[in-house]
Amino acid sequence: MPPKFDYSDLRILEGLGKYGPRNVTGVARKLGLPAETLRKKLKRLTSQFFLKFNANIYHTYLGLKKALVFAEAAPGYEDLLFNCLRQNDFWISLVRCYGTFEGCVGVFTVPNDHCVEFEQFLEEMVKLGAARKNQVFWCTCFHAIHSRCKWFDRKSKTWNFRWDKWIEKIPNEDTELPYTLVDPKDFPIKGDYTDVFILKELEKDATTSFTDIAKMLGVSPQLIGYHYRSHLIKRGILESFEVADFRFGTTTSNFFFFLFKFDSAEKLNKFASSLLDKPFVRTLGKVLGQNALYGYIYLPKPEFRGFIDHLSKLIRTGFLQSYSYAIQDLQKSSRQTISYEYFRHGAWIYDHKKHVHNIHNLVKQNAPELHTN
């Protein structure tokens, strides 16, 4: 039987997400634990479970706009579509998905002045026949949710999903959202190459030392420390940290990409606020200029129906307008860091012609029957 997290494990993981995994002594102090105890527990947790610590970038402050893409594959060309999407240099997550449609879900961080070209890139895949439909939702940065202990029963060491109580409280929730879920006014570039390089290393492993990063860049650790504190933290470019785990088990749970639509901003805000402390939500993002919310939802398989039933109730009471979702195929999911190679002299290099040329080549090589059509 696979090992399970207990309450103290979850409390530690929640703390590491909230306060960041770089200062274990500081996290121990916040949690009221001796630092050595926390180090020992962490060692045990990392040896027993899948655990990853990654940094979350506030891409808005690097001039990048987040695009959430739902790409429906033309039957027979599912993998081709996945590889076509990879041809754009600015993807950060690409997964095969199933459920409502067979295809891909992609997250891209597109330089703000190249959004039109990005949409043309997606249209090109439809024209070539690799995709039936590509839908893009321009979003705010994704807000990470660290909650793990809520709804967890210490005695039985299981979660108790209180769906009824959740929807009951939504109308009384806060209407103020964190800045990460508010449409940004602009997309300034607040960082330099060193900042971007540090971020991409912390995206891979948030515990990487300044000394190691300094060696990669051939500069002093003090300089890396300066960039970290005075640029990344002070200017808000480094938004938060995330702890990745499979607390509901790997084979007994699923990850979903949900899109929730509302008829007013107030309803959206209340709904989003209700999710900020829930253990089944990993990230949230608001669709720019619309009353729509993206949610990366993590559920034990038996709880899926309960969640859907309660969304259905919210629709009947007029709180929610509609919802749609795709299920992540973990067997075919890729993720990569910010495209630091394309950041030069304080600006992003976005080569639209190359992206389009690459997908044409890919289709020509792998599906010549489509290319001749």
Binding site: K52, N54, N56, I57, R86, Q87, D89, F90, W91, I92, S93, V95, V105, V107, C141, F142, H143, A144, D192, Y193, T194, F197, K200, E203, K204, M216, L217, G218, V219, S220, L223, H227, E239, S240, E242, A244, F255, F257, R282, T283, Y296, Q328, L330, S333, S334, R335, Q336, T337, I338, S339, Y340, E341, Y342, I349, D351, K354, H357, N358, N361
Partner: protein
């Protein structure tokens, strides 16, 4: 005589002091220049720059865009 000796001695001392000051000044300048040559600037790229230069953007074959993250879960 006494005055002259003192004057000459004083001139020699001034010359020595000037030379010493000059040496100190140049020593620090030379050190600064050496350090500047040896230490890369904050925006120096080392291995990354080399990799980027080798695989030029124009080739269209290279897919250098970020580093892979060993985590299948979608980030923030």
């Amino acid at each position: 005589m006494w005055d002259e000796k003192t004057k000459n001695g004083g001139e020699k001392l001034n010359l020595k002091t000037a030379l010493l000051l000059l040496m100190i000044f140049f020593a620090s300048t030379v050190t600064t220049i050496t350090m500047a040559i040896k230490s890369p600037t904050p925006d120096g790229f080392s291995a990354t720059e080399t990799a980027f230069a080798t695989h030029s953007l124009e080739s269209g074959k290279v897919e250098l865009a970020g580093d892979p993250i060993d985590n299948p879960l979608v980030g923030s």
